[in-house]
Symmetry: C3
Subunit: 143 residues, 3 copies
């Protein structure tokens, strides 16, 4: 995008979603965006709430703590955007170790036990993540 790229004519309105306690994204992207009835949540990791003067860092050393914090961070974006897990149609899970699959699924099932709508679709794959991170999750919801 150069200086003289004309902005597209406004179609459907676009709104950024930033939960107040979330850490600032490391680049120019939004934790959540609403446009045309869709709420897209950016990849969330297990960072605890932002603290002034401290770099973001993942909670706890283990998969359980990171997973629950990551899910909580996705949930915060969904709810800040006026939505919830009930509206999610796709949740993408990025783990770092295939050995974590069974434990992750147990945490997942416990976390989502209270859903009243049909659960979201999900894809889980194993990737590299920055040091210290065991899991990253994003979600797409239809409002």
């Amino acid at each position: 995008m150069t200086e003289n790229t004309p902005a597209a004519p406004a179609g459907t309105p676009k709104t950024a979603v930033l939960p107040p306690r979330h850490t600032t994204p490391p680049a120019r992207f939004s934790h959540g965006v609403i446009k045309g009835g869709l709420l897209q949540v950016a990849g969330q990791v297990g960072f605890g709430p932002a603290e002034p003067g401290r770099s973001p860092s993942p909670v706890g050393p283990g998969l359980r703590e990171q997973t629950l914090q990551t899910l909580e961070n996705v949930r915060a974006v969904l709810e800040e955007g006026g939505s919830s897990w009930e509206d999610a149609i796709m949740i993408r899970v990025f783990l770092t170790d295939t050995e974590h699959f069974a434990e992750f699924n147990a945490i997942w099932d416990e976390y989502f036990a209270g859903l009243t709508q049909p659960p979201s679709a999900r894809t889980t794959v194993y990737v590299g993540l920055p040091a210290g991170l065991l899991v990253e999750i994003d979600a797409l919801a239809v409002l």
Copy 2:
């Protein structure tokens, strides 16, 4: 999600899609979900049809058998949801070995030879998958 999280007020209806011969998902997610005119298919792998008392396992040892079964499993979700490949706008392909790219593309082109609508967009990346799996595929369709 804690017990006292209120469910979001129902917006557009949400429906789960589960082809009758599909294996049960390993956690609380749906093989497919329809909401607001979108059908999202969860990551499918090369598991054959569910058999009572047997754990899911991939068909055949090779890329070709697994790929065709995986595509068949995605198709089954699309069709159970009243859709088809013709409606897909995005297909995500997760392979495990860059050496498989050419063979995968040949299988793909053969499989999709009969499309009458413009083909879907696609992204292919190389990730880790649980032992024995060579490919995982998900899809997003607009109804």
Copy 3:
């Protein structure tokens, strides 16, 4: 898809988007697809413009050149589809090396400095890509 699979009855129209200078996709998929108010851009890499008789190859040896070309290739699909970065709700970034994260973010922020709408959501993960490729990016826009 076998010869006798009936095509789904046409719902919302589906249009392929192919910028004139893009290289031909290596399999039967579209660089971009529009359907139901969504524009999905397929995974783009740092290939320069198509040249007759030459195989696609990435520009420059470095992350910076490849990233800018990749973003340019996504932009070309968005604009060929009558859209722009301003409409993007999700950008997926696939890098190959966690060491590239800081440099990538700096390039990203420079590139997107002129956005007038709230920036897209983004997920960044580290995967394998074919030899020579350092980055792959796809995007979903709401028209």
